[in-house]
């Protein structure tokens, strides 16, 4: 094998193995950093891990939003109309946050409460976060959404 061909072969091998290692590391980083999605029912059944960052989607249950009068602390229930999850959050809620609207919260379960680090509200009238739809579909309660309301 002449030196030129040898160099090319080495470069190609180097590139392929470099890319391979990189992709491997990337996949590892991915597996460490993804946020799994859970429905309120799954959380109520204890299927969600505590201490790990997860996402929960559903509707903000009517009449459950409590604000602390002194600070930006707020608590509300996220529901899939089967089960509710109590969410606490400190910070500014998004412009589209409202009772009865779809919401996705990201955070950790901490002694029975969901402590949110981020609250994402749905973006416009015609768009519902896919997670919310998924949660409502899984609970089969899209049709009964008004059922609990007085």
């Amino acid at each position: 094998m002449n030196p030129k061909r040898k160099q090319r072969l080495l470069i190609i091998l180097g590139l392929v193995s470099g890319l391979g290692i990189a992709v491997g590391l990337v996949m590892y980083a991915l597996s460490q950093n993804i946020n799994l999605f859970f429905t309120p029912t799954q959380i109520a059944k204890g299927e969600a891990p505590s201490a790990q960052m997860i996402r929960v989607g559903g509707m903000v249950a009517d009449g459950t939003v409590d604000r602390d009068p002194q600070s930006l602390k707020v608590a509300f229930d996220v529901t899939d109309f089967d089960h509710n999850v109590r969410v606490t959050y400190e910070g500014i809620l998004p412009d589209l946050f409202r009772e009865g609207q779809g919401v996705v919260v990201q955070g950790r379960i901490h002694s029975g409460q969901f402590v949110a680090s981020e609250v994402l509200a749905k973006h416009d009238e015609n768009y519902m976060p896919p997670e919310v739809t998924e949660a409502l579909r899984q609970s089969g309660k899209l049709d009964q959404m008004m059922g609990g309301q007085k």
Partner: protein
């Protein structure tokens, strides 16, 4: 080796296309209504035009379309001529969604009223029961009051041929 390497990008792309295709069918925007195969939800509202009380029992006893519309919805205006045409073949029931009475009546006065009934739902209560995300949406309901199809967005001849007609044939 080089000869084989050059095919690698194509192979990777082919795999990606497979995933994309799958991803399209998983499209989060095609929200399957939980109501497919379920009876039409119970409601007690009024008729927009007559002001009389409307309930589930007054809905047509033959296959019909339930069209969710509002005067603030531009696409509703686009599909309106087509629905008018369709109303000659089968009943079209209107569900006036999150609208005001005056605006809705003006809209119908201007564009024509092909609707067999006009359920007035200013608060979106029935809309929520139906899982409506926006307007327009159209539901196909059979003679027993079971929902068979949900269409989000405009109804036109293409949608009719591709989606409504096949289902309609099975329930007639």
């Amino acid at each position: 080796m080089n000869r084989l390497m050059v095919w690698l990008p194509l192979c990777i792309f082919a795999i990606l296309v497979g995933f994309f295709f799958k991803g399209l069918s998983l499209n989060p925007n095609e929200q399957p209504s939980a109501l497919i195969g379920q009876p039409f939800p119970v409601f007690g509202l009024t008729d927009l035009m007559t002001g009389e009380r409307l309930t589930r029992e007054q809905l047509p006893r033959q296959p019909y379309l339930l069209n969710v519309w509002a005067s603030w919805c531009i696409t509703c205006q686009v599909e309106h001529p087509y629905l008018t045409q369709l109303s000659k073949q089968m009943p079209v029931v209107g569900l006036n969604y999150k609208d005001t009475e005056t605006a809705a009546k003006n809209w119908l006065a201007k564009l024509g009223d092909p609707y067999a009934l006009q359920i007035f739902d200013p608060t979106g209560r029935l809309g929520l029961d139906l899982g409506v995300a926006g307007a327009p949406e159209t539901f196909l309901v059979d003679s027993k009051g079971v929902i068979h199809l949900r269409i989000q967005g405009e109804v036109n001849d293409r949608v009719y041929a591709k989606k409504i007609q096949p289902v309609l044939e099975t329930i007639q």
